[in-house]
């Protein structure tokens, strides 16, 4: 009797083939939506689907993706962050400012310096969240304003129209061309950052701690995680990714402006959430986030190709975000779905 009950339970909780395709955080559903959109484009505007189109999507999604990585960590741990754009712009701008003022130049080390500055700024969030246990969103609202204010008041508020030549050359180096669209070399470090974060999340105890804290903080404490230590790691690492993203933005836009990026938070948050990381925490993956960024970027570029006025873009992106988040929230409610009880009466 008991054995039957258990066998039955095991059978119902095992995921059948089709459901397995969906992925743990609905990544499969997202991939399906992207394919569907491409199909629609194929019918409506077949001439638009070129390699160049793919190149455009990659280029426009790179900065969003770089910014999304740090945020992903925070959201998995059950937090929310709006300070990452401020950290990014501070790190990118301050690095270029330093290079210009001191007359030094380089290709790789500016990325590392920006990441280090980002890490230092991330420690602000780390202290507020891990040490003083502040609500993450509130803490980051504060740090966003502080970091941006500090940047404008002490580092500089002038637009730097040209980058030092070597750094600028990174922005013009293409590794290959997709049709008519050049693919910039920074796709390589961004891809490496993605792989690194995926490894951290899936293969390290720290990564498991991030999911554990996001799943249930008290339980994490009880199995022996140092929650504050895990949180400190999360915010330092998130700052590091944001700083790196700031430099990616500077290099790709080939200028440094202290007024960039801030205001872009919602796009990035949307990409991460559509990618399967829910604000409740404990969920999300790097490949989901990559798909989320891809979807947002695809929609934006499709609108351009379809010749739709840019005034409409904001509205459409807004709708995509709403629908994407709604789908995620809905299919996540499956956990709350009641199991079947009623026994069929065979006539």
């Amino acid at each position: 009797m008991t054995a039957d009950v258990h066998a039955e339970r095991a059978a119902t909780s095992r995921r059948p083939g089709l459901a397995a395709l969906r992925g743990r955080n609905n990544e499969g559903v997202l991939a399906g939506v992207i394919l569907l959109l491409l199909l629609v484009m194929l019918v409506v505007e077949p001439s638009a689907l070129t390699w160049g189109f793919a190149g455009d999507i990659i280029r426009s999604g790179l900065v969003t993706l770089a910014l999304a990585l740090g945020l992903l960590l925070i959201i998995i741990s059950g937090g929310m962050d709006v300070s990452f754009t401020a950290i990014a712009v501070f790190s990118g701008y301050a690095t270029v400012r330093l290079m210009t003022d001191l007359g030094i130049d380089g290709r790789v080390w500016p990325f590392l310096l920006a990441a280090a500055i980002g890490c230092a700024l991330g420690s602000l969030n780390a202290v507020l969240v891990a040490r003083y246990r502040m609500e993450t969103l509130i803490a980051s609202l504060g740090t966003q304003v502080i970091i941006r204010g500090f940047l404008l008041a002490f580092v500089g508020s002038t637009y730097l129209a040209t980058l030092p030549p070597q750094l600028d050359s990174v922005g013009t180096t293409t590794i290959f061309r997709l049709g008519s669209s050049p693919v910039n070399i920074v796709v390589v470090p961004v891809a490496l950052a993605c792989v690194a974060l995926a490894l951290i999340l899936r293969r390290t105890m720290f990564g498991r701690g991030v999911y554990a804290v996001g799943g249930d903080k008290e339980s994490a404490r009880r199995v022996g995680f140092h929650v504050a230590r895990v949180q400190t790691g999360i915010y330092l690492l998130a700052g590091l990714f944001a700083g790196f993203a700031g430099m990616v933005h500077v290099v790709l836009s080939r200028h440094a402006s202290p007024f960039d990026l801030v205001g872009m938070e919602l796009n990035v948050i949307a990409a991460v959430v559509i990618g399967g990381a829910l604000d409740r925490g404990g969920r999300g993956s790097v490949h989901g986030t990559v798909l989320g960024v891809l979807l947002v970027s695809l929609v934006q570029n499709s609108l351009v190709r379809l010749g739709i006025s840019s005034y409409w873009h904001v509205l459409v992106i807004g709708l995509v975000i709403l629908v994407g988040v709604a789908i995620q929230a809905r299919s996540n409610a499956r956990g709350a779905k009641r199991p079947r009880i009623l026994e069929e009466v065979t006539p």
Binding site: A7, A10, S13, M205, G214, L342
Partner: protein, 498 residues
Amino acid sequence: MSERPFALRASGVTKSYGGVRALAGVDVHVRAGEVLCLAGANGSGKSTLIKIISGVENPDHGTIELGGTSAQRLTVKEAVDRGVQVIFQDMSLFPNLTVAENIAMSARVSSNARWISERKERALARSVVERLGLRLDLDAEVQDLPVADRQLVAICRALALDVKVLFMDEPTTALTWHEVETLFRVVAQLKEQGVAIVFVSHKTDEVLDISDRITVLRNGEVVADGPTAEFDHASLVEALLGYSATEDRVLSQALAAAAPALEVEGLAATDLFADVSFSLVQGEVVGLTGLLGSGRSEVAEAIFGKVPTTGGRVRVAGREVSIEGIDDALRAGVAYVPSDRLTQGVFLDQSIATNLVSATIGTVTRRGGVLDESAMAAQVDDAVRDLAIKIGEPTDPARSLSGGNQQKVVLGKWLATDPGVLILNGPTVGVDAGSKAAIMEILRRKASAGMAILLISDDVPELVSICHRVLFIRRGRMSGELAGDEITESNVRERLVT
């Protein structure tokens, strides 16, 4: 067995919280391969003792001897290293992770591992699951598991480490007695493997059933300690409470001219239940019982409008009603006390007063939406007196109350709506014997005054102690009924499984 070494010996453990003495010189010991029941009513100091032995809290005085080494105080890590594992009442699992990931978690953390190998995690999880002869889907996420399986996952997680003393804090609270049998089998297995088990409970039936020895705590002191054979139900209850409380069958007086209060006809909900028909008259207490997952809760939630129905009719006081939410239910005169008071019934951080008036906020609101403080205070006073709720101040948070008193607050909140029909789902789950008897007495009193009460429960003694009739549900269909003298513990148990 008495030759076996002590796995745990705590002596003279004393702990005070800001002047309030939670533990006063408690001595507790358990040998390898022994099941000790640590029994005590809510607030007797059981939880504090567990926290001290597992290193979560430090004692003011006393020594804790584990496997031959003695210490004044322990950290969580030291306790784990010496083989102490606690299965907390809430199980402390990670709903977002898989069964395998959950089971491997404690062992990975305590070994200070830096890297994760999914293959090794699975192998570890599988070995534990197989050792206990359980069937668990290692890849299922814990949030998708039924409560009974979560309990087993929590046990597996503790056993993935080298456990010598296993604390189980009220492990059966969320289980039906049928699933409790499975749990007890696992406990027996662990015992054979030489694990010392400290089983924390205030359910006298299971305490007597499973333990070798019993230590009873009351107000932070050991008031009884001895082999289980020296206790029986009555003496155990008396030790727990300090006075005797009975669960005898006492029925409220049926009303002379009782009108129908609740009539349910052919109620159905897709995949959940079908053809559910029954009725209650005024002043009647009717039990609705079935195993966990039989549909007993779903029927109640459907009547209250929380589960959408696909057919059937509900009449309240003779009038057909369509209840789609709490507002409709209140208007129709139906109140529902849900099973999980922590998540559905009580606002833990809100004051006792706010909790008590939260279902009747309309009646204490003046025109313009301003709260009438004096009306509120009067209502709170009435409820506290009527239900004998033990509180400090009405402004204290509900969290400060014991489980039994929290449940009285939830009950009081719904009674304030003056319902004609009161539906209760597991009203005494996690409530000690004293509070339980008090709640039963309140229900009898309300029934005598004409309220119709539908009691959903799988606590057999509770059903027997109060119900005029007991209805059975099985796999979503009504499967029988007992009335009057047919209602005995053995009859009800028999009907439940067959």
